[in-house]
């Protein structure tokens, strides 16, 4: 088996396995029934029992995907719960380290078995074959548990925080289990910090009208991003990446940018729905995205993109490695290690590792350039820097999306085909993608709406601002958004991209 063949098989296997299973997604009909029931139960039962409602509903939510794998989440919960208590009890640092190390090793070992074993096994066999050593691949036929990377990291983060003495170990197993499995963020984050989420699940919550309505508005915006924008663009992206040689250069170029928008809307849409759902229960989850495509550098992009993961890696990997309080070279190495691991976290494939590595490399480069410029102000206008950064980030996403390196290279190199006749290049490219005039206008409107929302979000809370408008105006916006979600969305909705991680 060749290296490329192996990567394709791994990615395909994961896709097939996940698509065979039908589970409760935020954009499914089941969830439309599930959420109101849980909401009603939560506010009806006394405060002391609410953790039980959360735990039960979260486990039911997870079991709708695969009942057997509930044992996995229970196991991770159990070992991190017990490990943290043992860490707290121990007086000696060495023993504390032993227990925290034990929790980390066991959690990561499980993650390895379910997510990385086949990847590593295939890689070793390929390397042995290249050295003409006969070997046969060992493949584990395991279903990749949805959200395993998210809840494992959340549990590891909790144990480390206890070790550092930043938080006390939780003694109530049920409440801790509710924290690890809190259904709004269970399968795709945000990866919550214990200090933020656990106290909220323990404290008595009172229904807050403002918080609940804000939550619904945030959910509506999340649904719009996911169901309307991401799923619409997904059709074009899947088509081109499925058979890129068949399409024109412009079509390939357009899809590079389409995927940037798709993955942002898909993931930030999920995060918004998760945060909005949590607000309905009086819980505030951390903000995971802050208009990332309005960043002027890759470093800034990572301060705005998947913030819960970036800060997790910063606090539990980058800083323990020495962070930036080391030599320039060592700092560059720390950045590279952090981002290579971040890439690997996203998926068991070298294309993901390359994607992480390239992001790390870009940041090292930016640091060097900034160090030379020192106090000099940027001469390039803000808008141009945003556009350049968007192009760079979009180009790097190709490694994330492509099945193989050669596909990524093809996408990045052969977009200029037909450029000698620019009008035909553009018009033919749209035709090639199957985008007519009306569809082009619709896509443009969607993207424009997203860009305006995100641009205003840089300085203001758009949802709060709309909330201050007069009733007919703000209701027109809300109703318009709901109706657009129903009318502009593709008939068949796709699953969330980050569920595969």
């Amino acid at each position: 088996m060749t290296i490329t063949g192996f990567w394709v098989n791994i990615k395909k296997n994961v896709e097939i396995v996940n698509k065979e299973e039908k589970y409760m997604l935020f954009n499914s009909l089941q969830y439309a029934f599930f959420l109101p029931i849980v909401f009603a139960l939560y506010w009806v039962v006394p405060h002391k029992r609410r953790w039980f409602v959360i735990l039960l509903s979260s486990y039911y939510f997870y079991m709708s995907w695969n009942a057997k794998y509930l044992l996995l989440i229970m196991f991770i919960t159990g070992i991190s719960y017990a490990g943290a208590i043992l860490v707290e009890r121990e007086k000696k640092i060495a023993k504390k380290k032993f227990w925290v190390g034990g929790v980390i090793v066991i959690s990561l070992a499980l993650l390895f078995v379910f997510k990385y074993f086949n990847f590593v096994s295939g890689l070793i066999v390929t390397l042995l074959h290249m050295a003409s050593i006969p070997a046969s691949e060992i493949v584990l036929s395991l279903l990749l548990p949805v959200g395993i990377s998210f809840y494992t990291f959340q549990a590891i983060g909790y144990t480390i925080d206890v070790y550092r003495g930043e938080i006390p170990a939780e003694r109530h197993l049920g409440k801790y289990a509710a924290f690890v499995s809190f259904f709004p963020q269970l399968v795709a984050g945000p990866i919550e910090r214990t200090s933020n989420l656990l106290p909220q699940l323990k404290e008595e919550r009172f229904f807050d009208y403002g918080q609940a309505t804000y939550g619904l508005k945030l959910m509506a915006w999340g649904y719009f991003k996911k169901i309307v924008i991401a799923d619409t663009l997904a059709a074009y992206v899947d088509k081109i990446y499925g058979d890129m040689h068949f399409f024109s250069g412009f079509a390939r170029l357009a899809v590079i940018f389409f995927f940037s928008i798709q993955i942002y809307c898909d993931f930030s849409g999920y995060s918004d729905i998760a945060r909005g759902t949590a607000k309905l229960f009086g819980v505030e989850l951390m903000e995971n995205f802050k208009s990332p495509y309005f960043s002027t550098s890759v470093r800034e992009f990572w301060r705005r993109w998947h913030i819960s993961l970036s800060t997790w890696f910063r606090d539990y990997v980058y800083i323990p490695l020495g962070g930036n309080r080391v030599s320039r070279l060592r700092n560059a190495v720390n950045i590279m290690i952090t981002f290579l691991l971040s890439g690997l976290w996203h998926g068991a494939s070298l294309t993901f590792v390359a994607w992480g590595g390239l992001h790390g490399g870009m940041q090292v480069l930016e640091k060097q350039v900034d160090a030379r410029k020192k106090e000099k102000k940027h001469k390039i206008p803000y808008a141009v820097r945003v556009i350049i950064n968007f192009i760079i980030v979009s180009a790097l996403w190709v490694f994330f999306r492509a099945q193989r390196f050669k596909d990524a290279a093809y996408m990045l190199v052969y977009w200029y085909q037909g450029l000698n006749n620019p009008v035909r290049w553009v018009v033919g490219g749209f035709g090639n993608l199957g985008i007519g005039a009306m569809t082009a206008v619709k896509l443009l409107l969607m993207i424009l709406l997203l860009a305006v929302f995100d641009y205003i979000s840089l300085k203001k809370d758009v949802i709060a601002c709309i909330g201050k408008w007069k009733l007919p105006c703000r209701w027109a916006v809300y109703i318009g958004l709901i109706v657009l979600i129903f009318l502009w969305a593709p008939a068949e909705s796709a699953e969330f991209i980050y569920f595969d991680f």
């Binding site: 009909l29 506010w43 229904f207 009208y209 609940a212 309505t213 619904l216 619409t232 009306m438 569809t439 619709k442 209701w475 809300y478 109703i479 709901i482 109706v483 129903f486 009318l487 502009w488 969305a489 593709p490 008939a491 068949e492």
Partner: protein, 322 residues
């Protein structure tokens, strides 16, 4: 909490009312009426003199329009299986009587196809929600019914608003299939195709048919055909089995063994149920001009007019309604 719930209900109700309004506008568009070629089912006469069932080959072979002496309905649809022929047959059965003729088109793969058992269902399945009731649709499910039957604006939402607006603006293209005047000499190659392309296409299509037929086992399609024949017989309705004309580049590409099995099956059905089978495969009258075909196995508008005319002429002494 009360205030919150009240506002959610009001917001939901207004949004729902708006969606209903858009849905009502959508189902009245010409686009929706023509969607998936389903318009013909909204124009079925009280009494049907002749009806043909089948898949695209049948849909492209019969044209009952323009005959004033009888009412004919073409209930064939692209990729329609015999199971859904039977669904329409049963659904419109009250429109048939002793003076009616039922034409059951049987193409080489029809008897051996397999129904889609699991979602997601393709348009070939979901289109039936536009016409048929719950009991006539296999694997009927509520979500699909909402999307394709009660609120088709949701089932086809990406195109719905676009088409409502287009029709409001008078931009809707009502042009249906336009009959081209066949001038000049008859051809022996499909219009716009080279001979090699035509033969290659015919071969590929035949291969697809054979693959779809598996080992040519009798399954639910076969049983559905038999049930329709028996029901016609019981109710004294004339029933005829037909294989419509196709081009040699298509029908000669099938394996001999495959064709032998198909014809043996047809012979068995004819003998056992005493039913007439008309096979137009290789009929030279329909091979003199390839402009009567859109591709290797589907007739064009002029082809179907000619075939229908010849079919009526051939069988004028047999067809009860004619």
């Amino acid at each position: 909490m009360k205030r919150f719930l009240l506002k959610v209900v009001i917001l939901g109700a207004i949004s729902f009312a708006l969606l209903l309004a858009v849905n009502a506008a959508y189902v009245n568009t010409e686009y929706y009426k023509n969607l998936n070629s389903m318009r013909k089912f909204s124009e079925v006469p009280e009494h049907i003199d002749v009806v043909n069932f089948g898949a695209s080959h049948s849909a492209c072979a019969f044209d009952w329009r323009g005959y004033e002496q009888f009412d004919g309905v073409n209930m064939a649809l692209g990729s329609q299986t015999i199971v859904y022929d039977e669904a329409f047959f049963n659904y419109y059965f009250s429109h048939l009587d002793e003076n009616s003729t039922v034409i059951l088109e049987v193409m080489f793969k029809s008897l051996y196809e397999k129904e889609l058992e699991a979602p997601p269902y393709t348009t070939e399945i979901t289109r039936y929600y536009q016409v048929l009731k719950k009991d006539y649709i296999r694997h009927w499910n509520f979500v699909d019914a909402v999307k394709y039957q009660y609120f088709p604006v949701l089932g086809n939402r990406q195109n719905a608003v676009e088409n409502i607006v287009s029709e409001w603006l008078g931009m809707y293209d009502k042009e249906s299939e336009v009959e081209m005047e066949l001038t000049g000499e008859p051809t022996q190659v499909l219009t716009g195709w080279s001979e090699e392309e035509m033969y290659e296409e015919g071969k590929q299509r035949a291969e697809r048919f054979m693959n779809a037929s598996g080992s040519q086992e009798h399954g639910e399609e076969y049983e559905a055909l038999i049930r329709m024949i028996e029901k016609c017989k019981e109710n004294n309705i004339q029933v005829i089995l037909v294989t419509v004309p196709t081009l040699p580049c298509f029908y000669t590409s099938f394996d001999d063994a495959f064709m032998e099995k198909f014809y043996a099956d047809m012979e068995e059905i004819c003998d056992k149920y005493e039913v007439l089978y008309l096979d137009y495969t290789g009929d030279e009258r329909f091979l003199t001009d390839y402009r009567w075909y859109n591709d290797t196995d589907h007739m064009s508008l002029s082809g179907r007019r000619f075939f229908t005319q010849e079919f009526l002429k051939d069988n004028q002494n047999i067809l009860r309604f004619y």
